[in-house]
């Protein structure tokens, strides 16, 4: 090969680089390791992390059973090692699966259009807000204070440079639900979007219909966020929203210390040209057979550059495929039964503890520990190999006695009994 090229060594290939920019040292990275050594390294480090031990943490990342089918399918090289399906004739597998994904997300959320994924929910939230800005021609956003705190932080980062003032509205101290009186006083003729999460950060189901009525009365759009997708097996879909942005981590995506996950944005038909990210559409091939391809690319950065709806390029395709397989495996009956199991477990533990809020909750709730020391309680649980709930003081100073506890189908009754005993 060197002869064909007409050079005598590999180094000759980069000899044209100016000497001043060449790196002549050896990279300070240890010599290459074998498979065994690499696996051993990660196994040993992994042992210092809590992995599958009992845990009551939720707060946007949920521990659900991952059907074996999921990794079986996403490990197929044809899915794992393919690129974004720009060449439709060579990528009908990925394109068809994404079309099914989009369809299932629409069925779940009650929306008309869903994109092929966002990085995660936290980044889908500002993208949804920017969609609303473009659609309404307005600039400000109202977000409920019981939306996931880190989603609100990310929203703040994006908003700062969009000329998009973000204001928070309160949650009701008794129910834990969004305070619609506060929302009503803050809605103005410049409000592009009202952002509400349901179930909210405290696990409580919100009244989406009422929020929609309030927002629409003032000409604003309603954006509904979800972080626990399993809830959609039994909780009414947010049909009255204009945009739904959410997190699919619950659909067979391992917690993996916070990522990779898969976010989505779904919306009503009228907003299709404002949606960011990739969309797969149905079409025909030259012989009239059904085929799929990426569509409405004129919204995207590779065509529109600085006028694009977003800069997103790489998304979370393989993770979205995990969610697609998950939804196929559980299906109509399974998702409902799974959601009911989650609800039942949370109700079981919930009945044994004092609650901070009265609103109806799905698989998480805020326990009120009163004067007791939350950190000490969690240490006591840790000694019993149980990771306790999330102390809320970190995000909400007024809830320093509150602990957010989550139960899923993987939570065992005997562990819940221990938690109840330690926390009661």
């Amino acid at each position: 090969m060197l002869d064909t090229i007409g050079v005598s060594s590999l180094e000759d290939l980069v000899a044209h680089l100016p000497a001043a920019v060449r790196y002549n040292d050896r990279l300070p990275i240890p010599d290459g390791k074998s498979e065994y050594e690499i696996l051993d390294y990660f196994r040993k480090l992994g042992e210092t992390n809590a992995g599958l031990q009992a845990s009551f943490l939720g707060a946007g990342v949920y521990r659900h059973y991952r059907p074996v089918m999921v990794d079986t399918i996403v490990s197929r090289g044809e899915f794992l090692t393919s690129y974004t399906p720009y060449q439709a004739e060579m990528a009908q597998g990925t394109l068809t699966a994404i079309f099914e994904f989009q369809s299932m997300i629409c069925q779940l959320t009650g929306m008309d259009v869903a994109n092929a994924s966002m990085y995660d929910a936290s980044t889908a939230v500002p993208e949804a807000a920017m969609m609303a800005m473009r659609a309404t021609g307005r600039s400000s956003v109202l977000v409920a204070r019981n939306v996931h705190p880190e989603y609100r932080e990310v929203l703040g980062t994006y908003a700062k440079f969009q000329g998009m003032p973000v204001q928070e509205f309160a949650f009701d101290a008794e129910s834990g639900q969004a305070n619609f009186d506060d929302l009503a006083t803050k809605l103005t003729s410049d409000t592009a979007a009202v952002i509400l999460q349901s179930p909210n950060f405290f696990g409580i189901v919100e009244d989406v219909k009422q929020a929609a009525a309030l927002a629409h009365e003032k000409g604003a759009l309603l954006v509904v966020i979800f972080s626990e997708a399993v809830a959609m097996g039994i909780v009414a879909p947010p049909r009255d929203a204009d945009i739904v942005a959410g997190e699919l981590q619950s659909f067979a995506i391992a917690p993996s210390y916070g990522g990779p996950f898969a976010g989505i944005i779904a919306c009503k038909e009228k907003l299709i040209r404002q949606i960011p990210g990739r969309l797969v559409g149905e079409t025909k091939d030259k012989d009239g057979r059904r085929a799929f391809c990426l569509t409405l690319a004129t919204r995207e950065q590779h065509i529109r550059r600085e006028k694009a709806t977003s800069n997103i390029c790489t998304n979370q395709a393989l993770i979205a495929l995990m969610a697609t397989v998950f939804m196929s495996v559980y299906g109509k009956e399974g998702l409902r039964e799974l959601a009911t199991q989650n609800l039942s477990k949370a109700q079981y533990l919930g009945a044994k503890l004092k609650h901070r809020f009265s609103g109806p909750f799905f698989n998480e709730f805020v326990a009120d520990v009163g004067a007791k020391d939350v950190a000490e309680m969690n240490r006591a649980l840790e000694a019993k190999k149980i990771i306790g709930g999330l102390p809320l003081g970190r995000f909400y100073p007024e809830l320093k006695n509150g602990v957010l506890l989550c139960c899923t189908e993987m939570t065992r009754r005997e562990d819940m009994d221990v938690v109840a005993e330690v926390m009661a």
């Binding site: 050594e37 992994g46 599958l52 990342v61 974004t84 995660d120 916070g258 091939d285 569509t295 299906g331």
Partner: protein
């Protein structure tokens, strides 16, 4: 089929309807253990108005249905595992499976981001070690692993530049972008609140330092440059470019999409780059997965470190802690700490290669690109006659005169069993064929690919109409993309 087609022959493929069309009522593929607590009626617990009935049209299929369905779909895809995937700038290299195994180790796959730091030391160590490696490779001083993909890293990087300039009293107004840049660059600058000004490349396809000197004024915040650029050409005057910017108080941002050409050979930190992102799914071989997930760490010089988003890793005694107390940090760009599972894969890749192996991979990538260039340049017009690094860009000038363009050639390549190169990009080349073979291709596979492109060039001379009607052998013939956009159907309906 043409005698020139050596890599593939036709084989029947399975037909498969959509999941919704193969569903039948009552079928299911799931199992749940029996509930160990009393079952609760959703309507009683949540209120009747808050619950839903069954999800209309949601799939009802068996386990066998599921595996056959997705396996059949998978056979309709091309993949690196099937052969060379020469998408320029996308770096489609082989994805070692050890990386997948490492990410699925229980202690890596199952930690919750909010579990106490004391129970997350291994995960934090992985991140710290990857930060160390990325600093060493780039010659930069500090790294954030938070961004989820390249474009997301660009966004974080431009925010850092803005925060730094604000701390100096003026965030400035404009970002300069060469006309050869990826579309994400201008889209990112716009999202970060900057105006975009395009800079024309010179006759050698590089940043024109004279044009740059005129363009840089007190309103310019930064130049976003890709090096090697999208022509696969190393920006020869990159150090001068950095100096021109720095002299006017502006910064140099580097899009690391083509870092595959530099690892072990040249470090951006040494040639004046202030901020850059890396695409772990390109350079460090985490799988593209049909479009993601990626990971887009951002590396910076010392002056920008105080602005990196919280939280950051901090060593306290012999333990890692997450430090949120960073008063100058730009806001979070993502919840939690980044695409951790992708970080594990990238570190496994770095460990498998070691420092010398990483450099060898770079040289092999440059070797493969130059070999293809040499074999093809008698048949296709090289766009710019400059030394190629990891990719080479041709134009369709010769073939265009005979009536076939880069898009036609790309579709014909599919018949030969190869995924097309990047078509019509960079925009500064008319009818571009942008080819990046990567280091993981053997001479045998490279030759098959070169033979295919040469054979297509001959076909164009003999029967251009046949080439223009390609592909001929795929189970799906040419797809009507215009029709799809005219009346979008983006979900299945009964």
């Amino acid at each position: 089929m043409s005698e020139g087609i050596k890599k593939v022959r036709q084989q029947p493929s399975q037909n498969e309807d959509l999941l919704f069309e193969i569903s039948s009522p009552g079928k299911a593929g799931y199992q749940l253990p029996p509930l160990d607590v009393p079952s609760v009626d959703p309507r009683a617990a949540l209120g009747a108005g808050n619950t839903r009935d069954a999800i209309d049209d949601f799939p009802e299929v068996s386990e066998v249905d599921v595996i056959r369905h997705f396996t059949r779909l998978s056979t309709w895809n091309y993949a690196i595992d099937l052969g060379l995937y020469p998408l320029g700038s996308c770096t489609m290299k082989y994805n070692p499976r050890i990386n997948e195994a490492a990410a699925r180790v229980e202690g890596m796959a199952w930690p919750h981001p909010y579990q106490p730091d004391s129970l997350s030391q291994g995960a934090m160590e992985v991140m710290a070690e990857l930060e160390r490696c990325l600093n060493a490779i780039t010659g930069m001083d500090a790294v954030t692993l938070q961004p989820a993909a390249g474009a997301h890293g660009e966004f974080a990087g431009i925010l850092l530049i803005r925060a730094y300039l604000e701390s100096k009293g003026n965030p400035r107004k404009k970002i300069l972008i060469p006309d050869s840049a990826h579309g994400t660059n201008p889209a990112t600058a716009h999202m970060a609140g900057y105006q975009v000004e395009n800079i024309a490349s010179n006759s050698r396809g590089m940043v024109d330092t004279e044009i740059l000197m005129k363009a840089v004024d007190d309103d310019v915040a930064a130049l976003m440059v890709t090096n090697p650029n999208t022509l696969g050409v190393f920006e020869e005057h990159i150090a001068d470019v950095a100096k021109i910017l720095h002299d006017k108080g502006a910064l140099l941002y580097m899009d690391g999409a083509n870092m595959n050409a530099l690892v072990g050979v040249s470090r951006p930190g040494d040639f004046g780059v202030d901020v850059m992102h890396l695409n772990l799914h390109k350079t460090f071989s985490t799988p593209h997965g049909g479009g993601g997930p990626g990971s887009g760490p951002v590396a910076v010089k010392k002056i920008l470190e105080p602005f990196l988003p919280a939280p950051r890793l901090k060593r306290v005694g012999d333990k890692w802690e997450w430090n949120y107390n960073l008063p100058d940090a730009v806001g979070r760009v993502r919840a939690f700490y980044g695409n951790f599972g992708v970080l594990v894969r990238a570190l496994a890749y770095i460990m498998a290669h070691g420092g010398d192996g990483l450099k060898r991979a770079t040289l092999d990538a440059v070797l493969n690109a130059n070999y293809l260039r040499k074999r093809l340049e008698k048949h296709y017009q090289i766009a710019y006659n400059e030394p190629s690094m990891h990719e080479c860009v041709f134009s369709d000038d010769i073939q265009k005169k005979l009536g076939a363009d880069t898009g036609n050639i790309a579709k014909r390549l599919i018949d030969y069993g190869f995924h097309p190169y990047t078509v019509s990009f960079p925009l500064i080349v008319h009818g571009a064929l942008m080819i990046e073979p990567t280091e993981t291709e053997s001479k045998r596979e490279l030759d098959l690919f070169a033979d295919a492109l040469i054979s297509i060039a001959e076909e164009i001379e003999e029967n251009v109409e046949f080439v223009k009607q390609s592909p001929h052998s795929t189970r799906t013939s040419k797809v009507d993309e215009v029709g799809a956009a005219r009346k979008p159907v983006v979900r299945w309906k009964r």
